[in-house]
């Protein structure tokens, strides 16, 4: 391209504008096509268990026995669904108070230490890869639980603890943002009335930022729900509903991770795993809509 000609000719100018428009539009189109084909392919595979192989939807969602190689094969996915929900919700129950405390510390108690020390700590926690969490869970948490509690140490408790650390950065970051964006007048009003810092925190700060805190918690649960390898390493992978938190269990993701490579494409065993993936995907939609709803409430 010759620079000197640019001023005289108007057409390259328009052509350039056109290039920009088309290029960026193709990029966004790629994104949209990708997500629609993702939903389409996972759904068509997941539904073929019911449509082609004739497995009953209700049996899959509420059945307690997962025996794909049995005679007749049984596809009860309830143990996996139960495992996924219990680990992720338990993880959120552990991580939410911790995240709230860290956020209060960073905003209300000591912003200086918060910015210079806690902020990098939280960011580092977010950067640690999930397999490393799984490895540490396997070599620290599981032996610890095995010594303290009856059982093998693996199970929902170990999975939830590992997940709690993984989602702590998400919850803390959103809680911190919420506390920081609170109008100063609210807190000052409370202090002016003679309230102590703690009274201000749990009477004013916590109730007003609750929708935002909930957003963080739901985001955390969503992340925990979809996490595969770290959970698979510490949960034990027994396909039944455990009787205690320290007994081997299974989640949707761990079942998919373990068996997807061992089943032939198109077989009913393989399709059933795609149905698990479909459940996982539907839950992602549910989480996104809950978050949208909570964010809508935050604006009020």
């Amino acid at each position: 391209m010759k620079k000197s000609n640019d001023r005289e000719v108007a057409t390259p100018h328009l052509a350039e504008e056109w290039v920009g428009k088309v290029y960026t539009f193709i990029c966004i189109l790629f994104l949209i096509i990708t997500i629609f084909s993702m939903v389409y392919f996972v759904a068509s595979k997941g539904l073929s268990t019911f449509l082609v192989n004739g497995v009953n939807v209700k049996d899959l969602l509420t059945g307690l026995k997962w025996k794909p190689d049995g005679e007749p094969p049984m596809f009860g996915a309830l143990p996996f669904i139960f495992g996924s929900f219990s680990t992720s919700i338990l993880a959120a129950i552990i991580a939410a108070p911790l995240g709230f405390c860290a956020a209060v510390f960073m905003i209300e108690l000591s912003p200086k230490i918060g910015r210079t020390f806690m902020q990098p700590v939280i960011e580092l926690l977010a950067g640690i890869p999930s397999v490393v969490y799984g490895f540490v869970g396997l070599s620290v948490v599981v032996p610890l639980f095995r010594d303290i509690f009856p059982g093998q140490g693996v199970g929902i408790a170990a999975g939830a603890l590992v997940l709690a650390f993984m989602i702590l950065p998400t919850i803390t970051t959103i809680a911190t943002d919420a506390l920081a964006s609170l109008p100063a007048g609210l807190k000052e009003g409370s202090y002016a009335l003679g309230a102590t810092r703690w009274q201000t925190i749990y009477r004013i700060v916590l109730p007003t930022t609750l929708p935002a805190q909930m957003t963080g918690i739901v985001l955390g649960i969503a992340r925990a729900f979809g996490e595969a390898l770290a959970v698979q390493m510490v949960i034990g992978n027994a396909p039944h509903i455990p009787h205690s938190l320290f007994q081997s269990a299974s989640t949707l993701t761990s079942a998919i991770t373990l068996s997807m490579g061992n089943t032939a494409m198109g077989s009913v065993q393989n399709n059933a795993l795609w149905s698990l993936a479909l459940i996982l995907m539907m839950m992602t939609f549910v989480f996104v809509f809950i978050i949208r709803w909570l964010e809508g409430r935050k604006k009020l």
Partner: protein, 295 residues
């Protein structure tokens, strides 16, 4: 109990819990580095793994991780920046744009294993790319695009409006303005965001199990022709990355020193991700200082 005592107790508890979180992270990092550092040596970093004997290394895995990272970034960055520009500059406020926003949000919250399964179904089987570096790179691209779009949007939004308007007022086309005025100003944010995304790619495993595969063929590190099947640069060969390797030896490792290898590999992974993190911060700060008048 008086309000003042309650305040003191609550403050104490909050400080205690925050300290606990900090300690947990220090313990976590210390544990990984302490367990792993002793096992890291030049031999460990360069030699191929052993299946049943002692003394295997992580050489090919480390190379695969780095090569996959480069491949993924080469695909992700142009598409992500393009889509980000569209969202921030070209998209008109309205129903369609907010739908696109929702779509990007949904894509960013998909679990990585779903992305991996989609990759298995479409990239590996339908497009017939097989278990290969290219399949892995495409799956990771899908996984990272929403992040890249968000980073670009954020960067472009940080550009002062006056600068954009001054450029447009000079009669410069919109695309040229974006390219030569807005993007350079947004560069520090885009670049440090991309490095963080790179750290995420480096540690990702679930999306790669069924796309890049769980094995590495014997590589000939003296053959750098990308078209040869045992060349390390061939993008169509299966490639087990470092993160996948850690998962694999933990769940089905047969070597007697599997735990040490896992510890060493975890330490290498953590150190690399930390370097990415620090690099992103340092680079962001350096470029901010260089491009703006602030000292």
């Amino acid at each position: 109990m008086s309000a003042k005592t309650a305040d003191k107790i609550a403050t104490g508890i909050i400080i205690f819990i925050t300290g606990l979180i900090a300690l947990a992270l220090i313990g976590l990092l210390g544990y990984i580095l302490f367990r792993g550092m002793g096992h890291i040596s030049w031999h460990f970093l360069t030699s191929p793994p052993e299946t049943i004997r002692k003394g295997g290394g992580i050489g090919p895995q480390l190379f695969n991780s780095l090569f996959l990272l480069v491949l993924t970034m080469v695909i992700t960055v142009p598409i992500g920046i393009g889509a980000g520009i569209y969202m921030s500059e070209y998209a008109k406020a309205g129903k369609i744009t907010s739908t696109i926003r929702l779509i990007v949000e949904v894509l960013s919250s998909f679990p990585s294993i779903i992305v991996g399964l989609f990759g298995l179904l479409v990239i590996v089987n339908k497009f017939n790319f097989g278990f290969s570096l290219l399949s892995g790179a495409l799956a990771l691209t899908i996984f990272n695009l929403p992040l890249m779009v968000r980073i670009t949007e954020q960067g472009l939004r940080s550009v002062p409006l006056a600068q954009k308007e001054a450029s447009l007022a000079l009669g410069i086309s919109k695309w040229k303005t974006i390219r030569s005025v807005q993007l350079p100003i947004a560069l520090p944010i885009v670049l440090s965001g991309s490095i963080l995304a790179a750290g995420r790619i480096f540690g990702e495993a679930a999306a790669l199990l069924f796309t890049a595969g769980m094995s590495t063929p014997r590589l000939d590190f003296s053959d750098w022709n990308p078209l040869h099947s045992d060349s390390p640069l061939n993008p169509m060969r299966p490639a087990e990355t470092l993160a996948v390797h850690i998962w694999k030896i933990n769940s089905e490792g047969l070597a007697p020193d599997a735990t040490q290898i896992a510890a060493g590999a975890s330490a290498v992974l953590i150190i690399t991700v930390l370097l990415f993190n620090l690099g992103a911060r340092a680079l962001g700060r350096y470029m901010h200082n260089k491009f703006t008048a602030s000292k």
